[in-house]
Symmetry: C2
Subunit: 397 residues, 2 copies
């Protein structure tokens, strides 16, 4: 891997040249005349960390707009599942490709995925040069031999990219995975030092069913099983009480907040203020294209911030800088990626954002414009691990 020079970028209130080598930021103040194998001109553009999307289903981009504006059960039973039953491995490859192009276009370099036929997803991630944590999904309905095969894969798998892709253990949810399999997943994750990715407390129905079946709410139920720990990524977490928030904080669970999906499916209003006050680790996810209907983390930041304000009745909740941190640094940190901030020594993930874009002007406050005003038309260039994935609006492959 060669060297990359970002010339004349706007960073921390000044114009500077940034040198990247071996996939890391070497200097944020490279002397003029610095040579590099590749140079990207960045005059009039801000250098910002890119997005880390902690919950999605990439290949479901194929279902974007296929079924909207209906209750979750009807959506799943009558539309999503019948469609998915007809999907081939080639479809999954194409769907993932579409998703990755959309992610790059909108400034995302990492996603935590949960789907099936993951060999296809892995191939496409390699091809496009992003980072990913790819879930090996477990559900009760799989046969014992299928489950054994999955556990085998988790034990024997090696990252072909040397650091950009990891697998996660992904029991789908408490209502699709029984207690025995949940415990087995948790033990596998712990022993293999892997993340565990699960849907949790997404709907009121899930909570009611769990109380009926197990006599406990979902968070308490998982905690009793010993599943919760600092390697757990819990998606949604809409319906929890304050004591559950404290449990999640104490166990170090990472929450993936998906505001658009929760709003579109009318799942409920994420209790941001309560979870924040409890000290929970908060990150941001888009969920799939089928329930959002895009993978645009910039838009997701705005939804998260505005929902936190109107949901609490307090406009000071989740200010621009905090939601930006959730979508960038916190997402990377949750998956142990040494990136998410622009700093010397960190892995070189970055965006160039066009400051001349109509929505980025005037620039009283760069982060406010980025969170509340911009859209993907301002994303000029995307860099992941020191490699340029999109340059001046052109995706590299």
């Amino acid at each position: 891997m060669g060297t990359l020079l970002i010339r004349n970028a706007w960073l921390d209130g000044r114009t500077t040249d940034v040198l990247i080598s071996d996939g890391r930021f070497r200097s944020l103040t490279a002397p003029s005349g610095t040579q590099a194998d590749k140079v990207v001109e960045a005059a009039g553009m801000a250098l910002l960390p890119p997005f880390y999307n902690t919950h999605t289903h990439a290949a479901m981009s194929l279902l974007r707009g296929y079924a909207d504006d209906m209750p979750l059960q009807k959506w799943l039973l009558e539309y999503v599942w019948p469609y998915e039953n007809k999907m081939t491995r080639q479809d999954i490859r194409e769907g993932t490709r579409m998703a990755l192009r959309e992610m790059i276009r909108t400034g995302t370099v990492f996603f935590s995925d949960m789907y099936f036929d993951i060999e296809e997803t892995i191939d496409v991630v390699r091809e496009y040069g992003l980072r990913a944590a790819i879930g090996v999904t477990f559900v009760n309905s799989h046969s014992k031999s299928q489950q054994a095969e999955k556990l085998d894969m988790l034990r024997s798998w090696n990252d072909p990219t040397g650091g950009r892709i990891c697998l996660t253990v992904a029991p789908h949810a408490i209502y699709t995975v029984g207690p025995e399999l949940l415990v087995q997943c948790a033990e596998t994750a712990r022993s293999r030092n892997l993340k565990l990715h699960i849907h949790l407390s997404e709907t009121r129905g899930e909570v009611e069913d769990c109380i009926r079946e197990h006599g406990l709410t979902p968070v308490r139920y998982l905690d009793r099983l010993g599943v919760l720990g600092d390697n757990v990524i819990a998606a949604h977490v809409v319906h929890v009480d304050r004591e559950e928030a404290d449990i999640l904080a104490e166990r170090g669970v990472t929450i993936s907040h998906c505001p658009c999906s929760n709003m579109k499916l009318a799942s409920g209003i994420f209790p941001y203020k309560m979870l924040h006050e409890a000290g929970c680790r908060l990150t941001l996810g888009t969920d799939g294209d089928s329930s959002n209907n895009n993978l645009d983390m910039r838009e997701e930041m705005k939804f998260a911030a505005l929902l936190a304000k109107v949901g609490s009745g307090d406009p000071e909740q989740l200010p621009a800088g905090e939601v930006f941190d959730m979508a960038t640094r916190a997402g990377a940190e949750a998956f142990g990626i040494d990136a998410g901030v622009i700093a010397e020594g960190k892995r070189a993930d970055a965006l160039l954002v066009d400051l001349h874009n109509e929505k980025m002007q005037p620039c009283h406050n760069l982060l406010s414009n980025w969170v509340y005003a911009a859209d993907s038309s301002a994303v000029d260039t995307v860099i992941c691990d020191g490699r340029v994935l999109m340059e001046h609006h052109e995706i590299a492959i």
Copy 2:
């Protein structure tokens, strides 16, 4: 004004050529070989109606990102008003110019404005070729002679564009305009056949103050004064009860729903379901760049639809087609503009939307993609009154 041919556009499920002359759609199925003074190539693009933004403050684009994440009173008293006190007419001209470029970029051809020094706004609207309903603002703090001057302007003004600009009578709100002046505004509007544009029931504080001062809620108070009628555009309307919804419906008042502003300032959740069931006339507005923080009606559609769903707990509320209708046809109709749909004989306002854009694929449902998935990067071309304001991403001036 010459003829304009849109070639190979996607419209109602087929590819067609569209001929525009004298500012109107002449033929949606022009024969091949049709000649025109100007041709726009539209292969791979959908022809859609553009947006009609029924509540904004254009020149406040200057304050985008100047103050966020704080309570309304602090925002107004410590930031917005001191800033505005220093604004010159030239500033207002520049701010309006920035706003209009942003509107064109994001597919809006009409806005209903409320601000001061409106001669500047009118000039810039003429320059850029949009449509506008420009509010002549009334507040108690103006002197009698200032108010007389404004009333004079309303009586003597002639539209220099021959149909694209009108003035509206704009008493700012019930808490800044006394009952006598409100009645005078209503009478002027009625006698001159003008719209009346007012902020209404935006915050809980406004309702409480009104009850304390007048013994009535804001809608009932305005109704008792005889202000409400089918020429009234009421912005926000967040805090109303069912009886007030019925009053608004019966009087034919147009509501401008501004979801981003209401959420960002934590004003409250717009009661979409109740107002819709009462039969109210609903349209969409962005409010100003200072409280949104953009003028992007596409994003506003998504916020409106998702807020209606989560606010009511019902995912079937405000489906894509309905919110699209609010943002297009209904907005035009509220201001008596013979446009907002693509139909022969209608004024020729339209967008070309790029179907190859990553967020517009796959195309199971065009309107769903446009409402829930897209962003301004898919807006290729903008046409207003038969004139091309932006062609293939290039703004004409």
